[in-house]
């Protein structure tokens, strides 16, 4: 939070500003309270969820929106600080790189799975091996650098790496670190718990009705005392944000997360609701295919980025709730870099000049791609108006997400650009590797990143010191922004509403809320 500049806070309306700060500060306060200080009466936390989970097995799911469900039933090996995403102990009480290619995890004692089987080094080995090798695993790539997992003793796991990778602790705070009961899978790595999760998390699973709800009840033997804060949890699937707000307004639910930014002013008007807001890793951005037509020229790509008034973008498309993005991380993140963010500004004259230098003074026509929902269309129309100023013309051809991104990033390679978003990764080095790596899926042109990029990225994964890592990642980001390989637009803010009963709920920087600490007053 130290890097949060005044002007962002000042752009928010008074009420919100207070609550943003309160939401962030609340996190620290909770840590000081003694465990068990929270009421644990027979109460159920009802939550409005915004989409049906794709699966409740961490290894087989595909959607970023699944985590909010998964966190309730699974614990992760590594946890993070909600405000900065710096790693902290989870199921692994501590970890240590004994050498650059050896990571040793010391596990928590006395942890059991919901089915009563013990959580130990063997269970961790089973999970990590399943995640990195099973055919059904969607997250093999996350653990690509792990070459062997050994259960050294009952509570010690040793990971042998094929290459240094200090991103691993945070990778283990994501899907890859969610521990499924091997017994529930009959010790078969190819089995799944898609519709019946069994983990060590605060609630045991009680049911999932597609597009309706997912529910759980208190896991009395959870290893952390005082967790969970409520006896039961129900996530009601209500995709549409307006409906979600109405659900909490009418008292059908106690908490609604990821509302539409435009609803912020409505929440403010409702006396019984509290707004919890804060930055997330979710970034609206335009992906460019740098291997096609005029976009091969770095000057054209730079010009298109410089031509966008990001402050206006936040005002128009997010009702002012958000922050302009000049790089691929929000300002609150530990790896945010002032130097990298300074590369991009709003400068129409400079943009025009770059277009002239590139030989496109008369303008260019691009094949633009996007998604058909009204929110996306609004963003597209904003961008078209911005780019029109420097002679970049074109039309958007929209398609559902899987089709549009499949054809843009996949083998077909249709379209010059895609108006989309980046949902964030726990460790920033993953973001950079996935977004700009030469063979990465999200680099549609499969163009090589600038000179020195791979080396700096590698350095960030070899060091175990946060400041050193941040410096290396700053170089990575700066090179990417100078090459304008994609155009970040703005940070999405978490906009959550809670009723007065809800206490100890806080937004986190990942933008995927956890409810384990929440209590009902």
């Amino acid at each position: 939070m130290t890097k949060r500049p005044e002007e962002i806070i000042n752009t928010l309306p008074p009420l919100r500003r207070r609550q943003v700060l309160a939401g962030m500060a609340g996190a620290a306060a909770i840590g000081l309270l003694p465990r068990g200080a929270f009421a644990q009466d027979g109460n159920v936390l009802r939550i409005r969820a915004n989409s049906n989970p794709s699966s409740l097995d961490p290894a087989t799911g595909g959607a970023g929106s699944d985590h909010v469900f998964l966190y309730n039933f699974y614990d992760t090996l590594v946890d993070w600080e909600p405000e900065t995403l710096a790693p902290k102990p989870g199921l692994a009480a501590s970890w240590d790189f004994t050498d650059p290619t050896t990571l040793v995890l010391k596990l928590q004692e006395g942890v059991t799975f919901h089915d009563g089987s013990p959580f130990n080094a063997e269970a961790v080995k089973f999970n990590l091996d399943r995640n990195r090798t099973a055919q059904l695993s969607n997250i093999k790539k996350d653990l690509a650098n792990v070459s062997e997992v050994q259960a050294t003793d009952e509570l010690t796991v040793t990971l042998t790496l094929s290459a240094p990778d200090t991103a691993l602790p945070l990778i283990l705070s994501d899907r890859a670190g969610m521990m499924v009961s091997p017994q529930a899978l009959n010790n078969d790595p190819e089995a799944n718990v898609d519709r019946a999760p069994v983990g060590t998390g605060p609630w045991t699973f009680t049911g999932w009705t597609d597009n309706e709800k997912v529910s759980g009840e208190r896991f009395a033997d959870h290893w952390r005392e005082g967790i969970p804060g409520v006896d039961g949890i129900v996530l009601n699937v209500i995709p549409e944000a307006a409906t979600g707000l109405r659900a909490i307004q009418s008292g059908q639910v106690d908490l609604a997360y990821q509302l539409d930014e435009r609803q912020q002013q409505l929440v403010d008007k409702m006396p019984n609701l509290t707004l919890v807001a804060g930055p997330t890793l979710y970034i609206y951005q335009v992906y460019l295919n740098s291997a096609r037509g005029p976009l091969q020229d770095v000057r054209v790509r730079r010009a298109m980025s410089l031509a966008i008034d990001r402050d206006a973008y936040v005002q128009v498309t997010q009702a002012g709730v958000g922050e302009p993005a000049y790089m691929n991380l929000p300002k609150a993140h530990w790896a945010w870099s002032e130097e990298a963010a300074a590369v991009t500004t709003f400068d129409v004259d400079a943009a025009k000049k770059l277009m002239e230098e590139a030989g496109f003074a008369d303008g260019i026509e691009l094949d633009m791609r996007g998604y058909p929902d009204q929110g996306s269309v609004q963003r597209q129309e904003f961008l078209l108006a911005q780019w029109a100023k420097i002679g970049v013309k074109g039309r958007f051809t929209n398609a559902p997400i899987s089709e549009a991104s499949g054809r843009f990033f996949g083998d077909e390679k249709v379209g010059d650009l895609l108006m989309s978003a980046w949902t964030g990764r726990p460790d920033p080095s993953l973001t950079y590797a996935l977004m700009y790596g030469q063979t990465s899926y999200y680099n549609p042109g499969r163009v090589a990143p600038p000179e020195g990029y791979d080396a700096a990225l590698q350095k960030s994964r070899e060091s175990n010191d946060q400041a050193e890592r941040a410096a290396a990642l700053s170089t990575v980001q700066k090179l990417a922004m100078e090459a304008a390989l994609c155009i970040p637009l703005s940070i999405r803010y978490e906009v959550d509403a809670t009723t007065d009963r809800v206490q100890n709920f806080k937004a986190n920087l990942l933008g995927k809320p956890k409810f384990r600490d929440v209590t009902l007053g």
Partner: protein
Amino acid sequence: MSDAVQSPPVAQIDRDGFLTRVRHWLIDDPVAAVALVALAVIVACAIFAPWIAPFDPTMQDYNSMLDGPSAVHLLGTDDLGRDVFSRLIYGARASVYAAFLAVGVASLLGIPIGLIAGYAGGWVDEVVSRIIDTFLSFPAIVLAIAVTGVLGIGLTNAMLSVGIVFAPQLARLVRARALVLKQELYVDAARCFGASTWSILTRHILPNAIQPVLVQMTLLMAVALLAEASLSFLGLGTQPPDASWGSMIARAYLYAQIAPAQMYAPGIAILVTALAFNTVGESLREALDPTSRRP
């Protein structure tokens, strides 16, 4: 149906008679005349939009977003500060284009299929009828959504799919008429004189089957208009930065709680246009129906 018997053996359009009939029709039914004028105005809006609209429909002004009506912006501004009145006028283009395209496609597909099925009879008719049944047992919009998916999202593709979905309705109508007409004496006569199937179909059967089809086409215009609005509402129709009434409503719904008035104007525009198409269609049906009491 008795008009077939009254019809001349070979259809011939008597130009003078046609105009006179139109004049009589409109004098007899002033409401239809008003509807026709309304349609003319809407088509004129579509054609001359750049000269009529006070503003560029894509011009954004972030200092006046979601403003109410004023002297400058007759119907206020939308979420990007664009002039709603100008977008409404430009939106007429999408609607008129959509209606004519969809009905055009439906006619091009449906009329020949219906003619062939009705005239050929036998197994051809049986197969075609089953296919028509199948298509008619689908909820039309579901089919349109799926076809739009195949062709790709966009106004033209959306309306092509709506046209495909409408075609069976016209085909069924034409088939029923052709079934009756092929047994008429003058068709038999033409066949005896060695007229080709093509010439029988185009010169004898089609002209005599066309009247109810014309009525149906006019009514389908209204349905096509509503279908365009629905598909644009779902995000499958008109694409940015173009304006269409359906997409204007869809966008307004994002702001339903903040600026509910945004959704009224485009909805009324759809209503008036559909009403006009329906009125003209119904009136045509009566004017062309020989059993109705007309002087």
